[in-house]
């Protein structure tokens, strides 16, 4: 057995250390250790797609609870889906931070209404909000709908109310929104692709 000078000192050190310890009769700490417990062991896993850019990174969303009736699903961690052919588990800084998007303190939680000239939001029920918005839209449409232009051509358009559609909502939302907007005769209608 070869012993370098350094090892020799180490052996000496250990020897002196342990012998003095033994001499004093005190038990040293056990040379054992445990890592932090893996936090996702039985969390629920849901597959999703990142809502930011168009790379469409696959996500694994982990939530507390196993889906039991009395467990409220709380998202505790989001990471990349290793099976996804594009991102293969990777996520950019935005994707890696999605947990804080889901739980952002600036998430809207209930419908709100701001009256003309007011400085503040007031809560409003969904039902009241829908009814009031529908009323405003119908009144504007009835008043400003253009069935025919000055040449007498049928044009059936409504351009005094406009809409900007989302950039991150699903195809299903987009399709429904498109149907509704066109059925109302809306033309002032764009999505984020315009900018």
């Amino acid at each position: 057995m070869q012993v370098t000078r350094r090892q020799f000192f180490r052996i000496c050190a250990a020897g002196v250390g342990s012998s003095s310890l033994a001499a004093l009769g005190f038990a040293p700490g056990e040379a054992l250790a445990e890592v932090r417990t893996f936090k996702l062991a039985r969390a629920s896993e849901t597959r999703s797609t990142c809502p930011y850019c168009s790379v469409s990174c696959g996500l694994l969303i982990y939530s507390l609870g196993d889906g039991a009736k009395n467990a409220h699903k709380e998202i505790i961690h989001i990471e990349g889906d290793p099976d996804h052919p594009i991102n293969r588990g990777t996520l950019c800084p935005k994707g890696a931070a999605l947990l804080d998007f889901v739980h952002s303190p600036n998430r809207l939680r209930r419908p709100e209404y701001r009256a003309p000239g007011s400085k503040e939001w007031k809560p409003i029920s969904w039902d009241d909000a829908f009814s009031r918005i529908a009323r405003l839209m119908k009144d504007d449409r009835d008043k400003n709908f253009i069935a025919t232009n000055e040449k007498g051509e049928t044009v059936n358009r409504w351009v005094s109310t406009g809409m900007l559609a989302a950039s991150a909502s699903s195809n299903e939302t987009g399709y429904l929104t498109q149907k509704i907007a066109r059925s109302l005769g809306m033309l002032a209608f764009d999505n984020q692709a315009r900018v």
Partner: protein
Amino acid sequence: MALQSLDITARSATTTPVPTARQTTKVAKLIDISKCIGCKACQVACMEWNDLRDEIGTTTGIYDNPRDLSDQSWTLMRFSEVEVQPGRLEWLIRKDGCMHCADPGCLKACPAPGAIVQYSNGIVDFHEENCIGCGYCLTGCPFNIPRFSKKDSKAYKCTLCSDRVAVGLEPACIKTCPTGALVFGSKEDMILHAEGRIADLKERGFSNAALYDPPGVGGTHVMYVLQHGDQPELYAGLPKDPGISPLVSVWKGIAKPLMSLGIGLAVFAGFFHFVTAGPKEIEEEEENRS
């Protein structure tokens, strides 16, 4: 409780031998700076996985944010704009964080039993529940990595996601890295991977491309591929030849047994002096005479 989720090689301030029969594969993280875009995904993934949230700071005129490592930021990007070849700007971006030295200075310096542990796979882990907050690890580290928490006065640093590695997953930063600048595997494989990368870089004109696996700390379990392997200082001051400070080596090396021995000898010397030479007593008559 079976405290053996990973087999260990060393445990701070512990003099009994560790169970060494089981030797797990040595792992390593390889940081290929030539692929790093400095996106900070690793920073975010690290905070997210480890349930950390640093302060929302300010911008100081550079891209580095947060400005430094902290108890909440265990890794961060350091950006350097350099012109090695005149007129050819390079933006070198180095992920800074614990290097997981094979000969960890922090562990050597640590006086608290079990506050710092080196697993047999090479990970050097801080166990804050055992940390007493003395800050000795700061003096032991050749890379200036451990950071003190202002809240609990305990030292924190990258764990290489020992909790993930223990269940067979890669660390969070590795998984998230969009460009594959971070890779993880056995240290042997990582060295091979680095050789391939270095050959590629040499073909692209980086004739000094090299692997950074400094022998001064016995090699590291976090290694870099550097385009300019001859000048690691270009990368936000990466030390060229790091090692545990000789002061710390003496202090937690030879001084420890020798000084303990010295004190012990002094005590024994007194004792044996007493039993051989005996006490200095004034004779009774002299006492009475006075």
